[in-house]
């Protein structure tokens, strides 16, 4: 093998002709798309050709002529202009959602949820979809490097050299009997785990340590204490009638948000007569809290006391449930009477009793969830939650321990032990997978110092970060779209990860590197993986079927089952020992949180996610300190004031964001920002707040952190996309209560006489495209925003331009508050072009660049637009977006590869807006023509609809009375935004129904 050609899965395919049907094969290896910087070479060729023709015809110049060169040998299956889809798995977080990756001419251009996949059922979160951009991130490390320990400089090297080097080092360690540690993020991949085991087994002592910020270890700890099961169960939201969360942000960042959002949407399908009630007791405001029917903001740690008081009310006061006679439990609960807890937390006793009563009424069909990540008293809180779920017999119905999640992480105790070993020089080598433990681990663990004591640190990260800098060798790994892989998200469910493009650079997957270092028999990772699947994982499923579907579910009946699936587990009383005492002191404390866009910070260099308005604060490109209006008043600060936050060991300065609904005892800030080596996009965005993490004897705490907050006197304008949050009594959105809705589906809506028009309107002979958006389903997760951005080549504009109000998103999530300023109700309203029948934009365009199509779309002809912005001024929904500057020009190689070739890239001076994904409509129409049949309802899905984890968006033909969208347009809950203007939008919204 040539030295510059390391073991890509693909290049070995060349040596070992593939068996059977291999969709990915051939595509990358056939000229002219040979490896690895394929497009560059073509471009260079074109450039030279252009130069030649320029030299030949210097007399006059016109726009450069670019030629499209056809394949000399066209790969089978690949037709230029026709997308190829691969079933794969999202590799960004351990929930392992099934994906379908759309590729065009050999490059992945969009990631969508796999509708067949039992976890995410077609939905995909913003992070998963945006992970596509990480592939084309120009700041990735592109070749193996050695790192100088003294000054952290990187020296590029070759794979052969670094492999030989490392093998020699490892042989030495083997001989000396040194301990080797593999440190990874939570991975559920059975083959990778087997491989790691194989590598580690070569050494006398070794350990695989998992550190993943996103996995709530409290659930695992409490599972062990309560039931002797150290794992994370499977939550069945679709079965729930009453959901109570003590801070677990299951709709946003907790465990498997897309799976839960799908279940939650099913549990709240009001049109089927179901509306599970969601009550949230939390100290930091989460997306879940924002969607709560009943929201109780408390001080950090009080979640536990409220949970205890509820348990007290049910078990001790009412003497209900199987535990009423259990002396140990009643004794543990004794200090936490409703009265005591109410006096301390400020939550009225009635409210707690009512919650307890509701839970009891809905027993067996309730679902109680624990705290936020690393919450104060988190493990205890989770234990009480387990007690409640057992006492209420929810366990076994809404909670499944058998086909449980495989997400896992090591506990704080394990981590501190191993880091201490590192620090004392007992560890000979550390392998660090993707992830950035030097950044995310609490400073109390002194990881950075400890790692410096390890003589050999091998990093597999493909980007520079705080941890990579500490390594001695960097073996840059691949993106999930570049390599094979698998995942095991839940018991009995196995996913495959298919590569969709050859590695863009000289990167090699972690597994290939491990194989190479372990000297295993398998020729490459692909062979190893295939072998694993054939022998142990899915011996009875054809490999082709695995590739076609992307997963194998050995317990699909169980996952699809309705009703109770197991007996309720018995709670062990000793999980309740040493509960903390009720203390009456409540004051403002700091809480750290993972944001929807950045998660633990792994997406810092991703412009789509940087520019995604945070679903809670609407802030982009920054992390800010959120405080409640009351707390802001107490601190004497306003939105945009920069404050210094001081704990005993760390200080940070952050701008203030005033956040209604947030507990007045909490100042909340998102982690993951402030990375110094993140790359051009993420460099120095926001402030690092991980050092505020507090370590106790056996846990890490993220909230209830005592800090001093002081005004610095400086001010900054936050890059916030929505500054006003009241509907001002306008016909923008409507809500009703479940009780009213059951009496009258049109409740909450104003009734007025039909509006007259001076003309007869458009005639739609065939289709009229329309959309229905269910405000009751929408949770505001903003997955659709990224879906739209990826589908429609929407540029990001950067912090400065967002500050100026020039963000380009075609769909945005408007978020409105109503009611009391401290704890308002929230409605999220996706707002996109309403494709009005009487469109105000169309009549005012002087050049006819925007006009009405025969199928009801407001078309936009970019070529004809001169950019008067009159259409935008006259748009009552302000959904048009203007290219104020050239937002597409400063694309760095290879960022342009992500562009969807079906959608024009707009230049400056041009207006743009949602097209209802007209390219998808046309593709659907073409397909129907080819199949010689009419377009069926559901054949065409817009990008936002496809990605929605809550099924809130339905698109279709309004002229077909049988279509879902036409039925929804006539739904009793249906209304049109600002319908008093008589613009006749094609988008129907459905009222929000609250179960209060």
């Amino acid at each position: 093998m040539k030295p510059q050609q390391p073991t890509y899965w693909g290049s070995l395919e060349e040596l070992e002709p593939p068996e059977g049907h291999e969709p990915a094969h051939g595509e990358f290896l056939t000229p002219p798309l040979k490896e690895p910087l394929t497009s560059m070479e073509r471009r260079d060729f074109l450039k030279l050709m252009g130069l030649g023709s320029f030299a030949a015809a210097m007399a006059c110049s016109r726009r450069p002529v670019e030629k499209i060169i056809p394949y000399v040998n066209k790969p089978e299956e690949l037709t230029p202009g026709i997308p190829l889809w691969y079933a794969s798995t999202c590799g960004e977080c351990p929930s392992a959602c099934g994906t379908l990756v759309k590729t065009r001419e050999g490059r992945p251009i969009k990631i969508e949820g796999n509708a067949e996949h039992p976890i995410n059922r077609g939905g995909l979160c913003a992070r998963g979809q945006a992970s596509l951009l990480n592939l084309y991130d120009p700041d990735r490390i592109r070749e193996p490097q050695t790192v100088s320990r003294s000054d952290g400089t990187l020296t590029p090297t070759t794979w052969d050299k670094i492999d030989a080097d490392l093998k020699a080092e490892l042989a030495k360690i083997q001989a000396n009997g040194g301990k080797v540690v593999m440190l990874t993020q939570s991975t559920t991949s059975p083959s990778t785990l087997a491989l790691i085991k194989q590598l580690l087994s070569k050494f006398k002592t070794s350990q695989h340590v998992i550190h993943d910020v996103l996995v709530p270890d409290d659930v695992i700890k409490a599972g062990e204490a309560s039931y002797g099961m150290p794992l994370i169960p499977r939550y069945r939201f679709e079965e729930a009638k009453f959901i109570l969360s003590f801070g677990a942000d299951f709709l946003g960042t907790w465990l498997s948000p897309v799976e839960f959002a799908k279940g939650f949407a099913a549990a709240r399908s009001v049109d089927d007569g179901r509306l599970a009630k969601l009550a949230v007791v939390e100290s930091g405001l989460s997306l879940t809290g924002q969607n709560a029917d009943h929201y109780l903001p408390v001080a950090a740690g009080d979640e536990l006391f409220v949970a205890l008081a509820i348990a007290y009310e049910i078990i001790v006061t009412q003497k209900l449930s199987a535990y009423a006679e259990n002396v140990l439990i009643t004794a543990s609960l004794l200090p936490y009477s409703v009265k005591n807890v109410s006096a301390v937390t400020g939550i009225e006793a009635d409210v707690i009793s009512k919650l307890a009563g509701d839970l009891w009424i809905n027993r067996g069909k309730g679902l109680i969830l624990g705290g936020s990540l690393n919450a104060k008293y988190g493990a205890k809180l989770q234990a009480v939650v387990n007690l409640l779920n057992s006492a209420l017999e929810n366990d076994g119905h809404t909670i499944d321990w058998k086909y449980a999640s495989k997400q896992t992480t090591n506990t704080y105790t394990d981590l501190s032990k191993i880091i201490a070993e590192m620090g004392s020089g007992k560890i000979a080598a550390v392998f660090v997978g993707q992830g950035n433990p030097a950044f995310t681990l609490p400073p109390g663990l002194k990881f950075t110092k400890a790692l410096a004591q390890v003589p050999l640190v091998v990093s597999f990260a493909d980007r520079m970060n705080e941890t990579t800098k500490l390594a001695t060798h960097v073996l840059p790994g691949t993106h999930a779209l570049e390599s094979w892989g698998d995942a095991h998200p839940q018991e009995g469910l196995y996913n495959i990860i298919q590569p969709t493009i050859a590695p863009l650079y000289q990167n090699r997957s972690l597994q290939d590197s491990l194989l190479r270092l372990s000297g295993a028999a398998a020729e490459n990772w692909h062979a190893y993986l295939k072998d694993q699947w054939r022998k142990t994982i899915a011996p009875h499923t054809a490999w082709e079927d695995v590739l076609r579907h992307g997963f194998v579910d050995m317990a699909s009946d169980r996952r699809k089952a309705k009703g109770r699936i197991a007996e309720t587990r018995t709670f062990r009383e000793d999980a309740l020992v040493s509960l903390p005492l009720l203390s009456p002191k409540r004051e403002l404390s700091l809480a750290l949180t993972t944001s929807i866009a950045m998660a633990d910070g792994r997406f810092i260099n991703n412009p789509w996610l940087q520019e995604l308005p945070d679903p809670i604060s609407k802030i982009t490109w920054d992390n800010a300190l959120s405080v409640s209006p009351q707390a802001a008043k107490d601190l004497g600060v306003e939105q945009g004031d920069i404050v210094s936050i001081k704990s005993s060991s760390f200080e940070a300065t952050l701008p203030v964001h005033v956040q209604p609904k947030l507990s007045r005892f909490t100042a909340m800030v998102a982690v993951g920002y402030g990375q110094k080596d993140a790359g051009k996009i993420g460099h120095d965005v926001g402030q690092n707040v991980y050092p505020f993490q507090r370590t106790t004897k056996d846990s890490v705490e993220w909230n209830g952190l005592p800090v001093k907050i002081q005004k610095t006197g400086e001010r900054v304008k936050l890059a916030i996309t929505q500054g006003h949050h009241s509907i001002e009594g306008r016909n923008i959105l409507f809500e009703t209560t479940f009780k009213e809705f059951q009496k009258d589906p049109t409740s909450g809506l104003p009734h007025h006489a039909p509006l007259l028009s001076m003309w007869e309107g458009h005639e739609y002979k065939k289709e009229r495209w329309g959309m229905a958006i269910d405000l009751n389903a929408c949770i505001g997760c903003s997955g659709c925003v990224v879906a739209c951005q990826a589908e429609n080549n929407i540029p990001t504009v950067g912090k400065e331009q967002v500050r100026k109000g020039r963000e380009m998103h075609w769909i945005r999530i408007d978020r409105y508050y109503s009611g009391n300023a401290e704890n308002p109700d929230v409605v999220s309203q996706p707002m996109l072009c309403q494709q009005c029948e009487n469109a105000p934009c169309e009549t005012v365009c002087p050049t006819l660049a925007t006009f009405h199509s025969d199928d009801g779309l407001n078309m936009m002809t970019y070529n004809r637009c001169v950019g008067t912005r009159y259409c935008s001024n006259n748009c009552s929904y302000k959904v048009r977006r203007f290219n104020f500057l050239e937002f597409n020009k400063d694309k760095e190689e290879p960022q342009a590869l992500v562009l969807n070739p079906d959608v024009t890239v707009r230049s400056r001076g041009v207006m743009e807006k949602c097209t209802f994904c007209v390219q998808r409509i046309n593709a659907g129409r073409d397909q129907a023509k080819l199949d010689d049949k009419a377009i069926a309802d559901g054949d065409i899905k817009t990008a936002c609809q496809q990605s929605c984890p809550a099924n809130a968006i339905v698109f279709g033909n309004l002229n077909d009375p049988e279509s879902r969208v036409a039925k929804l347009a006539k739904n009793g809950r249906g209304f049109r935004v600002l319908d008093d203007l008589n613009t006749r939008p094609a988008v129907t919204y459905l009222t929000k129904v609250r179960n209060s």
Partner: protein
């Protein structure tokens, strides 16, 4: 000596009675026939610097895009269209003075109509920059806004008020230019006849189109001039009505009102007169024309400003009343937002300058005091600029969906272009003062009370 005994009202002389016919020719042609004064050089170097600032601002605008301005998502128009409407408004006084006052036989117009018309032309030229420059792609807008036949069979949207604007403004400009030029011909011939060097004789000879001053020519001239005055008169009303349609036919609260056409026309005349006033006060000082542009002229203009100022004030109040009376939620909000929202400062500037300031002209003494009227005219122009700003920006920055609400701040490039527009306008005006007779000599002579003994000098 003034007025016969049949006149009951004793009229003030229109021209300083001590002036002779010869004085008229000498005084008016002096700037044309002498080397520019130091004062003129100073003025033009200032205006050229302003123009240069504008050129730099435009260069940056075209090179980088509209993003150099402070516009944002809800606020798609601000200083650009404010300036457009402002300059178009300025252009209104000229035609009003030359056409309508001509038809009404208002003889006092004769001393000021030439420069007022010149102002119209320059103001419309300046205004015309903005609709082109405010577009995202001006290199296309310059063609595509006109309905010209093309092989792609692309047509403009005749429903769009912006297209109506293109027609209204270009028609107005063409007619005004002709009207001005026709009126110049007899005077250009006078300059030609006075010329002492060949080049000047040739240039003015060519410009005067062979005018000989024969009775037949005068007859034709009077006929053409009256016809053009007749043609221009409806334009005075129509141009700003059409400009107001940009707003009135939209659906935006605060824009969508039927009062806009008369309200805009009154405002345009108001601001146009204020601008004429400002410039004339300077010009009569700078070019020593006090005998021709008398306090009497200025007083009459102040009266018109008082009248139109009150019309504008009435419109402001009507708008408010209708917003309340209509019961329209959005309309009510927009007006409350204008007066008490984030742009209240702009609104109250406008109210003060446009409604309160002109009230001083109720007093004869103040009407006839130069410093007072100079300050007032400048303030009125400030107020009228803010009127357009308030209408455009307060409506856009908080429209229907509160989620989109935002604020607007201009950048140096908008301010630069604004300064540049003044630079262009004033430079053109200063050049005009150097190369054309700024006062209509033959008309002035016609309204002079001429004494018998000087009669021989009439044709000197």
């Amino acid at each position: 000596m003034m007025g016969s005994h049949t006149n009951i009202i004793i009229k003030e002389p229109l021209i300083d009675p001590s002036k002779t016919y010869a004085d008229v020719g000498d005084d008016v042609c002096l700037p044309l026939e002498s080397f520019p004064t130091k004062r003129w050089w100073m003025l033009i170097s200032i205006t050229l610097s302003m123009l240069f600032i504008g050129v730099v601002a435009v260069e940056e605008l075209i090179r980088r895009g509209i993003g150099v301005w402070g516009l944002n998502q809800p606020v798609g128009w601000a200083w650009d269209i404010t300036n457009f409407v402002f300059w178009i408004g300025i252009g209104h006084a000229g035609t009003l003075i030359s056409a309508i006052l001509y038809l009404f036989r208002q003889k006092w117009r004769t001393s000021i109509n030439r420069s007022a018309e010149a102002m119209t032309i320059f103001a419309v030229m300046t205004a015309g920059l903005f609709p082109i420059l405010h577009t995202g792609r001006p290199w296309y807008a310059i063609f595509w806004l006109f309905p010209y036949p093309n092989q792609r069979q692309l047509w403009v949207n005749f429903n769009s008020p912006l297209i109506w604007d293109v027609f209204a403004v270009s028609t107005y400009f063409t007619i005004s230019l002709f009207f001005w030029y026709i009126g110049l011909i007899p005077d250009l011939a006078s300059v030609r006849d006075r010329a002492k060097n060949k080049i000047r004789r040739f240039v003015y000879g060519a410009l005067s189109l062979g005018w000989s001053g024969s009775a037949k020519k005068w007859n034709h001239y009077e006929m053409v001039y009256m016809l053009l005055a007749g043609l221009s008169t409806p334009l005075v009303l129509s141009v700003h009505s059409v400009v107001s349609f940009d707003f009135a036919v939209s659906i935006m609260p605060g824009w969508h009102t039927t009062i806009f056409p008369p309200y805009f026309v009154a405002g345009a005349i108001f601001s146009g007169f204020a601008m004429v006033m400002t410039l004339l006060i300077i010009a009569r000082e700078a070019f020593n024309l006090k005998g021709y542009i008398t306090i009497g002229h200025l007083e009459k203009m102040n009266k018109i400003m008082l009248l139109t100022g009150m019309m504008v004030g009435y419109a402001y109040i009507t708008e408010f009343f209708i917003a309340w009376y209509s019961g329209n939620l959005y309309e009510r909000f927009i007006f409350m937002n204008r007066a008490f929202g984030p742009f209240a400062w702009a609104y109250w500037t406008m109210m003060t300058c446009n409604v309160i300031v002109p009230q001083i002209f109720w007093f004869k003494k103040l009407r006839r005091t130069i410093p007072v009227m100079f300050v007032a005219s400048v303030l009125i122009n400030v107020g009228m600029w803010f009127e357009r700003f308030v209408i455009i920006v307060t409506t856009l920055h908080r429209d229907f969906l509160p989620s989109s609400w935002d604020y607007y701040r201009p950048t140096m490039y908008e301010v630069g272009l604004f300064i540049g527009s003044f630079g262009l306008f004033l430079t053109l005006f200063l050049i005009f003062c150097r190369v054309m007779p700024t006062i209509c000599m033959f008309e002035v002579k016609a309204v002079m009370k001429h004494r018998k003994k000087e009669r021989g000098e009439l044709y000197a």
